[in-house]
């Protein structure tokens, strides 16, 4: 049994270097941080190959358990896009080979428990929340569903109908259209990170295809249990072993991250016409993967530029000084083999070019003018460091972090290193990071809006038209 005892004490990382003009704030901001020892995360691998991450938490009489399966959206075939989404929705609704769908749902409801599922790029996930007093009834149902799901044909047809109706709505909001189309601009339309299902692929997915996908990929050695609850770890382990008895290891295909070719990172401007009084401006370029050693430092610079809107450079200029947009921010999405850096703003149609120009101007100044001050830099570092204690608010999240860090191949002391890197980062390093990773000359720009609402039509010439995918 491994134990991830994080001797990570908040006292170690807080560096109160901010000096405040208001002496009262200066005094109260620099009160000594309170040390504490976060709860232990236990981990053990069962004989069947299932890994279990667990935190004991007696503050509430409830269990939260998630079973993660190492296969996700990016592992779908191009012809069956949407399969994992349908599988995920159908999983908790279809019953098992031992209990009918409606009976299972009724039993779960009678016990006040919740079972649902989720899918991300790399994982399928089945979740249970239950009051501790009912665990002897609810956990067997959860494990039955994990091992023996029955994908009900009637419910599949209803789900398909819902998914198809959802597709009718996916072009209703400009911000949702923009986000989807821009990711495709940067990563390529054939990229499994961003591709999407369409009515044809959804219609063609059969119950057998879902069942086969499940059978092919879900085995105990592909499953990780992440949980928190009031019982001792060993008691919880026994419960898991008993519930999964007879489910044995099997050979499943190793799900590597798919290879894909990224499009060229040439500057580009595209306009997607959408009748609306609202416009969305997105600009950005490719960035680093989640395992890049400089990711932590880039995070600090992104926070200065625009993460969180208010207090950032973009927010100060475009929202607070000019009042041009309610939403304006920057973000980093780091995937396994690449990443996206993106600036976004939502504004009224007639202001769209003013906002776009300001976004570019703020970004260019940020990269080229070398004007970050010690105070701005230290304030941002302290914000991130002071917030670190909130990673420990929920014990389930602690167990989940340990799992995901292992799954991503991070080192055991990833979190400690993350914060120490930020604490020790110098202004000179920050300036070097800007020059290396932020590129005003490589920006790709997408505007989703209504050209009939703009003030200066001559500027439309700068943009290539982009067709709205109406599938």
């Amino acid at each position: 049994m491994k134990s991830y005892l994080r001797l990570f004490i908040v006292l170690l990382i807080v560096s109160p270097t901010t000096v405040w003009a208001n002496p009262k704030i200066d005094e109260l901001s620099n009160r000594e941080a309170i040390a504490f020892y976060p709860p232990q995360v236990f981990m053990q691998t069962l004989d069947s190959g299932t890994k279990v991450y667990y935190v004991q938490d007696q503050s509430l009489p409830l269990y939260e358990i998630s079973a993660f399966v190492s296969v996700g959206r990016i592992h779908e075939n191009a012809e069956s896009r949407g399969l994992t989404d349908l599988l995920m929705r159908l999983w908790p609704l279809g019953g098992t080979i031992n209990i009918q769908a409606d009976d299972l749902i009724e039993k779960i409801d009678n016990l006040g428990a919740k079972i649902d599922a989720d899918v991300s790029q790399e994982f399928l996930q089945l979740n249970l929340t239950t009051l501790a007093k009912y665990k002897d009834e609810t956990l067997p149902l959860f494990f039955d569903l994990l091992q023996n799901p029955h994908f009900d044909e009637r419910k599949l047809q209803i789900l398909k109908s819902k998914v198809l109706s959802g597709m009718d709505m996916r072009n209703e909001k400009a911000s949702e259209v923009a986000s989807r189309e821009f990711s495709q601009m940067l990563l390529g339309e054939k990229n499994p990170i961003v591709w999407k299902s369409n009515p044809d692929t959804i219609q063609s997915i059969t119950r057998d295809a879902i069942q086969n996908f499940f059978a092919e990929h879900v085995a105990p050695n592909q499953v990780t249990l992440v949980a928190k609850g009031p019982s001792e770890f060993l008691d919880f382990l026994q419960l898991c072993e008993k519930s999964m008895q007879g489910w044995s290891k099997s050979v499943v295909p190793s799900m590597a991250y798919p290879d894909f070719t990224l499009p060229a990172t040439l500057p580009d401007k595209q306009w997607l016409q959408l009748p609306s009084t609202q416009s969305v401006v997105l600009m950005g370029h490719l960035s680093v993967s989640r395992n890049d050693p400089d990711k932590m430092k880039i995070t600090v610079l992104n926070a200065i530029l625009g993460y969180g809107t208010i207090g950032s450079r973009l927010g100060n200029r475009i929202r607070n000084e000019l009042g041009l947009a309610y939403d304006v921010s920057s973000q980093l999405n780091n995937y396994a083999t690449t990443g996206i850096f993106m600036i976004s703003a939502v504004t009224a149609g007639e202001q769209v070019f003013a906002v776009m120009d300001e976004m570019q101007s703020v970004f260019k100044t940020f990269v080229e003018s070398d004007d970050i001050t010690e105070q701005e830099f230290n304030n941002t570092k302290n914000k991130i460091l002071n917030q670190s204690v909130f990673l420990y608010e929920k014990s389930f999240d602690l167990a989940w972090q340990s799992f995901i860090f292992d799954a991503y191949g991070y080192e055991k002391d990833y979190l400690e290193k993350y914060y120490m890197t930020i604490k020790n980062m110098t202004l000179a390093e920050a300036k070097a990071v800007i020059k290396t990773y932020f590129h005003p000359d490589q920006l790709q720009i997408l505007i989703v809006g209504d050209k009939n609402k703009i003030k200066d039509a001559s500027r439309l010439k700068e943009f290539k038209p982009r067709e709205l995918d109406k599938e």
């Binding site: 901010t18 704030i25 009160r31 309170i34 409801d109 917030q387």
Partner: protein
């Protein structure tokens, strides 16, 4: 930790803890006190991580605005982060000190300011929050913020079918009620707001007696009380001149309206209901769960799964708020090739059947178990707990009303449901708004 756990375990007991002797132990854990200026505080120690959540709930929402002030409760909330004469940059100072879940929400009934901070920043928060309440915000950037709010409205109402439906429903369903306008205000109303109106609004409504603060965290209660008294005790008492608004009669119902909009078809079916507090409050909450929440809920099972008339059905027990009479809303989206009206007709039939036949005891038990468990789940987060405590204290006048809800839930039976259905879910209480897909002329 143990005390908090005991408190919650007691909450899970379906018998009324409030009336039991064990209550004394609970009351020892939750510390409630009122400062001489009228401001109420509720402290709940939760041992473990050195953090705390604070929810400041001010009893002022868009329903309190005069016609000239429409949109002001929300715009004022934006201005409240701009700083005071003493503190330049309120928002960034707290952010740099580690604030998370740092935001505010203006509703039709309340304005709720929330924040979470590391525990060693407790006194900093008390100093800054009390300064903001004592001195009020600066209004230097007022007209810039007007532009920001116009942009927010453009996004959340003018270009959002659900936001637009909400505004249309309120305008249509209410004639004279202060609930008849959207919380954000119309473009013209937002543009007409001024710093003078905002100052007057602050003087009128930001009085200590309209404020409740709930703090949940690793608190030393005695030390926290000293800090609170030191800082918030300095805020002078103000008269609370709020005049209770006369509830609107719903005599001109039923009403029905269809609007054309470039979005998928959907509808809102509303039934006029009484304001909080009311003997039927818990029954409305129960009905919301029974009709719409989950795969086996009555309307979902019948309309979505069996009849396949709709792709979704949702319920909200009290729209847009609860301080005044509002509506129980059933909303939904028809399936392909199905009209809104067909779904609505099927819903009416189901309600009628439920009114006449009631539901079996076993089903009642199931929905009680779900509501009971959902309540426990909602207590897990520090912020969720602070929100609940401040809500009940502000809304019902005593946080212990949480128990009343639970006791009423336990006592619920089919006859009570049928009585509420017979009283409220009838044609003379009905408002129907339908969105039909099409281009706006």
């Amino acid at each position: 930790m143990k005390q908090f756990c005991l408190w919650l375990i007691c909450l899970t007991l379906l018998s009324s803890c409030h009336a039991a002797k064990d209550d004394l132990q609970l009351l020892q854990n939750v510390e409630r006190f009122r400062l001489p200026n009228g401001m109420t505080f509720i402290l709940l120690p939760k041992k473990g991580v050195p953090i705390f959540a604070a929810h400041l709930r001010v009893k002022v929402g868009s329903m309190d605005e005069s016609i000239e002030e429409h949109g002001l409760a929300h715009l004022f909330e934006h201005m409240a982060y701009k700083g005071t004469a003493e503190i330049d940059d309120f928002y960034n100072t707290l952010k740099t000190n580690g604030a998370v879940d740092f935001n505010a929400l203006t509703s039709y009934d309340f304005t709720n300011y929330k924040i979470m901070l590391p525990l060693n920043k407790l006194e900093l928060w008390a100093y800054m929050e009390s300064d903001r309440l004592k001195n009020g915000p600066v209004f230097d950037a007022f007209f810039t913020e007007v532009q920001v709010v116009l942009s927010e409205r453009n996004k959340s109402v003018d270009n959002n079918p659900d936001g637009m439906l909400m505004e249309t429903f309120l305008n249509f369903a209410f004639a004279n009620s202060p609930y008849s306008h959207h919380v954000i205000g119309s473009n013209a109303e937002i543009s007409s707001l001024t710093p003078e109106k905002a100052k007057s609004f602050y003087e009128k409504f930001y009085t200590p007696s309209r404020m409740v603060v709930a703090l949940v965290g690793d608190l030393d209660v005695s030390e926290t009380k000293k800090i609170i008294t030191k800082y918030f005790g300095e805020i002078p008492a103000k008269p609370n001149d709020y005049q209770k608004i006369t509830p609107e009669s719903s005599a001109d119902l039923p009403k029905q309206k269809t609007i054309i909009w470039p979005a998928a078809d959907r509808f809102w079916l509303g039934y006029a209901r009484a304001a909080f507090p009311n003997a039927d409050d818990t029954t409305f909450d129960f009905l919301s769960e029974l009709l719409c929440n989950g795969e086996n809920s009555l309307l979902h099972k019948k309309i979505v799964l069996e009849m396949k008339l709709a792709v979704s059905i949702n319920c909200r027990a009290s729209v847009p708020g609860g301080r005044l009479p509002g509506y129980f809303i059933i909303s939904g989206m028809p399936a392909k090739a199905i009209q809104n009206a067909q779904v609505v007709e099927a819903i009416r039939k189901e309600l009628e059947t439920l009114t006449h036949e009631g539901i079996p005891v076993a089903d009642m038990a199931r929905y009680k178990a779900k509501l009971e468990a959902n309540f426990i789940y909602s207590l897990e987060s520090y912020s969720g707990m602070a929100s609940k405590l401040s809500f009940y204290e502000s809304f019902a006048g005593d946080w212990r009303e949480i128990y009343k809800f639970r006791a009423e839930l336990l006592a619920m039976d089919s006859k009570m449901l049928q009585r509420v259905l017979k009283t409220y879910f009838i044609p003379s209480h009905e408002v129907l708004l339908m969105l039909q897909q099409g281009e706006v002329q």
